[in-house]
Structure formats: structure tokens, C-alpha cells
């Protein structure tokens, strides 16, 4: 986990705590006080979503398109 960027770690923490979320739900949660230390540039969201997409590439997270957009979920092993 240490090799992951702060944004990627933040996405993982949020999904671990909350289960399945839409993109905007993740971004809204990232701005909450409990993530303030780890979430560094979530306001615009682009670098944050790019980090989430890298997690998908690494097989740690899945995203599925459905009603309302992408739904993100952590891969449980």
C-alpha cells in the first residue's frame, strides 16, 4: 500500500469503509474531515479519478457502468 499515491490510498480507504459508491460520492467523501490528511487534491477530482482508474488497472478496485454513472467497489480477496 505504501507504493500507492495519497489519492489512491484515499480511494481505497473510502471504498473499504463505504462499499459501493458512485464517482461523485467518492469525491464528496474525500472532502470530509476524516480524509483531510490523506486527500490532497480532490477538489477538481481529475487526479483523484485518475488514481482510482490506476487501482482498477492494478485489480484492487472494480468500476461498473450503470444507472447514474460508474459504481466503484473494492475487490475483496
Amino acid at each position: 500500500m505504501s507504493a500507492l499515491s495519497k489519492n489512491a490510498q484515499c480511494v481505497l480507504q473510502i471504498l473499504q469503509a463505504a462499499g459501493t459508491l458512485t464517482t461523485s460520492e467518492i469525491l464528496e467523501m474525500a472532502q470530509r474531515t476524516e480524509y483531510v490528511e490523506i486527500c490532497k487534491d480532490c477538489a477538481g477530482g481529475d487526479t483523484f479519478v485518475a488514481a482510482a482508474n490506476q487501482l482498477v488497472e492494478q485489480g484492487l478496485v472494480t468500476k461498473k457502468l450503470g444507472k447514474g454513472g460508474y459504481h466503484w467497489q473494492i475487490v475483496r480477496r
Partner: protein, 388 residues
């Protein structure tokens, strides 16, 4: 970000392969070749923007650095006013917001309409005799709208204020003439105009550049540095050298010159014409899509080659960009496009953002058709109207 033509890549490769030396400071043959190419690149940029002389063009890393140089180095009296807009890229407003805070100046923000256009009466009210600087985006990177710069320059100059034009979005898409309207400063990012990343230009009127403080100092900025009576005494060079401290990005500058030359060989009027044709097709197609909302005016003559929009069947514009990339090979930007204030003005929270499709000289109708097809599929799959 624009794609790079072979002419630009070739010019940069040629530098690295044939004469990879420092311009200006090396006496050997390769150094002379580098100096010549570096100097010609500045001439090409000056021709591209119609600066009255190449020395008015300063190499920077990007338009952001160009704007920071102006905001930080211009001598502005305390207590005076700076005028900017709600439509600015963060790089057009924040350097001046910080300068105003530090130097106890007032900032007045002219609010754009929600479609990115302005009411000239608002400018007349905002720019007063106490205003010293107006920082304005020439073409918005969100709405694509073109600012009525000629009117703004006339009002500002009439009241004794300088105009800083953020031309990062305008320069790649339209003929730019810094002498008509006669802006005082212009900031350009070369990566948007077929040039290399990490290269920008600051244009400034010579007398202003001469009177400004330096931004960075050090090697190459001085004619002499004496050591007298235990003191180090620098004698600074005139512009552009006083603003170009240390080893420069020679390959980047040569690439920037090649990009300017490439665009001029096509002709900026032709570039504008081609883009407006594609823009009309794109706007028409986007407007026909249910659930998709376009930001900005319908008149293509009021805008540059981009359209920002949102789709109400997805909760975030990032989903639009991800879907189009993953499934249709179409690359668009999403988010707040470094224009937070304007998104807040529109009531669009950052987590939602907007999607932005940009077109340039190399795009065609078939690519716009693919974009529209992709958006149609996205809306169908996310509205719950189609099962997958």
C-alpha cells in the same frame, strides 16, 4: 493539449541529435548553432503574435509562469485596484489575488454571464481611475467564449490601467495580434498550439518589461557582477535576458518556434475557419442529445474550438471522460478545468464538474460523429433506459 506535428518533433530532435549545446554561453561551433536556432525561434514567436520586436517575447514554462511574472514583478502602487473576472483560469486570477493580498490592493471581479459572455457596462463600472491592472482571459477554457478584448483595452487604457491578456486558449485557435488590440501583456502556453509541453511565452511591451523587477535572478541575467569593498554588485541585462535566468529549455524554445511556423504555414484564419466548421457540427450534435446540457453560446463566432457540457444521467463529468476513453477511444477533459470560481457561479460542485470536448486543425467530422455516438451510448446506459 494539442498533438505535435512532425515539424515540431523533428526540430527538437534535430537540436538534441545535431547541436545539443547551450545557446548564448558556449563559444564552440555547436554553441553557435544552438544560439542561432534559439534566437530564430524567438523571432518566429514574435512574428506569430505580431510583437514589435522579438525581445518583447520572454520564454517561460507556461502561461501560468508568464502571468505570475507580471503579477509579481510589475510595479503597482499600494492601494490601487486590480480587476479580473469570474471566468478566469486559476492562473489568470490567483497570481493577482495573491499580489493584491501582499501589497494591500483591492481586487474587483467582473462577473461573466453564465454562458461566458460579458456585459461591457460591467467593465465600465469596474475599471476606474484607481485601477492599475486588468487581468482578463481572451478565450475561456470552459465556455470557449471570446472576450470583447478591444473594448476592454480601450476602457482600461482610457483610465490608465494596463491589460494582461491570458491568451493560452486564444493563441492556438485564432490570429493573435498583440498590437491590435494593443494589450500590455499576453501569456501563451505552447502545448496547446502544437508545441512542446513545459514551454510558454510572456509578451510584454518593451518599456514595461524594462521597468519591471526580475522574477528569478542568476546566471545569464547579468552583464556584470562586481566584487567591490566586500559587496557583490550585479548589473542586470535588458529584456528578455533579465527574465530568463539559468540554463534554458533550448529544445523547447526551438520546438515552440517550429510550432508557430507550422501554424503560420497553414494560416491562422484557415485554422479558425476549419475549427468553426467542426464546432458548428459538434454543437448541433450535442444539442440534439437528450440529457446533455451545453455551456456557452450557440453562436460559433463567439467561441473557440471547445464545448463544455454535462450529462444529467451521470453524477460526475469524470464518468463521461472515462467512458469515452475506455469504450470509444475519445479523449476529453473533465473536472473544473482550473476554473473553480466559474463552476461555483454556475452551481456546479467540483465533484460533478463539466466535460470538455476540444477540437483542433487535425480533427474531422468522423471523429465528432464517434464522440456523439459515445455520448448517446453513455446516456442510454446510465439513464436506466437500456439494460446492460
Amino acid at each position: 493539449m494539442a498533438l505535435k506535428p512532425r515539424q515540431v518533433i523533428g526540430a527538437m530532435n534535430e537540436y538534441y541529435e545535431q547541436y545539443p549545446a547551450c545557446a548564448g554561453r558556449s563559444v564552440h561551433k555547436l554553441g553557435q548553432e544552438a544560439s542561432g536556432a534559439y534566437s530564430r525561434a524567438r523571432e518566429k514567436i514574435a512574428r506569430f503574435i505580431n510583437a514589435s520586436e522579438p525581445r518583447e517575447c520572454i520564454w517561460t514554462r507556461n502561461a501560468t509562469e508568464s502571468l505570475n511574472i507580471v503579477a509579481n514583478c510589475l510595479k503597482i502602487p499600494r492601494g490601487s485596484k486590480i480587476v479580473t473576472t469570474s471566468l478566469e483560469h486559476h492562473s489568470g486570477s490567483l497570481p493577482f489575488v495573491e499580489r493584491a493580498r501582499r501589497s494591500r490592493m483591492r481586487i474587483e471581479v467582473v462577473k461573466a454571464h453564465d454562458d461566458g459572455t460579458f456585459d461591457i457596462e460591467d467593465w465600465k463600472k469596474a475599471i476606474d481611475s484607481n485601477t492599475r491592472v486588468v487581468s482578463v482571459v481572451h478565450s475561456s477554457n470552459v465556455t470557449g467564449t471570446i472576450t470583447p478584448l478591444r473594448d476592454i483595452v480601450e476602457i482600461a487604457h482610457d483610465r490608465g490601467a494596463l491589460v494582461v491578456s491570458d491568451d493560452a486558449q486564444y493563441a492556438p485557435h485564432h490570429p493573435l495580434d498583440v498590437q491590435n488590440p494593443d494589450v500590455d501583456f499576453s501569456a501563451i502556453s505552447v502545448h496547446k498550439m502544437c508545441g512542446p509541453t513545459g514551454m510558454g511565452v510572456l509578451y510584454g511591451r518593451m518599456e514595461l518589461l524594462e521597468s519591471m523587477n526580475m522574477f528569478l535572478v542568476g546566471g545569464d541575467t547579468v552583464s556584470d557582477v562586481r566584487f567591490e569593498n566586500g559587496r557583490i554588485l550585479p548589473y542586470y541585462l535588458p529584456p528578455p535576458a533579465k527574465f530568463e535566468a539559468g540554463l534554458q529549455n533550448y529544445a523547447g524554445a526551438i520546438g515552440a518556434g517550429a510550432a508557430a511556423e507550422y501554424l503560420q504555414s497553414i494560416g491562422m484564419i484557415e485554422v479558425e475557419k476549419q475549427e468553426r466548421k467542426l464546432l458548428a457540427t459538434m454543437l448541433k450534435g450535442l444539442k440534439e442529445l437528450e440529457h446533455l446540457h451545453v455551456i456557452g453560446p450557440e453562436n460559433v463566432n463567439l467561441r473557440s474550438g471547445l464545448v463544455s457540457f454535462f450529462v444529467d444521467t451521470v453524477t460526475s463529468a469524470h464518468d463521461i471522460a472515462s467512458f469515452l476513453s475506455d469504450e470509444y477511444g475519445v479523449m476529453i477533459r473533465s473536472g473544473w478545468h482550473c476554473a473553480g470560481p466559474f463552476h461555483y457561479q454556475l452551481g456546479i460542485p467540483p465533484a460533478r464538474g463539466t466535460a470538455r470536448a476540444s477540437i483542433y486543425i487535425y480533427n474531422n467530422e468522423a471523429e465528432i460523429s464517434t464522440l456523439l455516438k459515445g455520448l448517446h451510448a453513455l446516456i442510454a446506459r446510465t439513464s436506466g433506459e437500456e439494460n446492460h
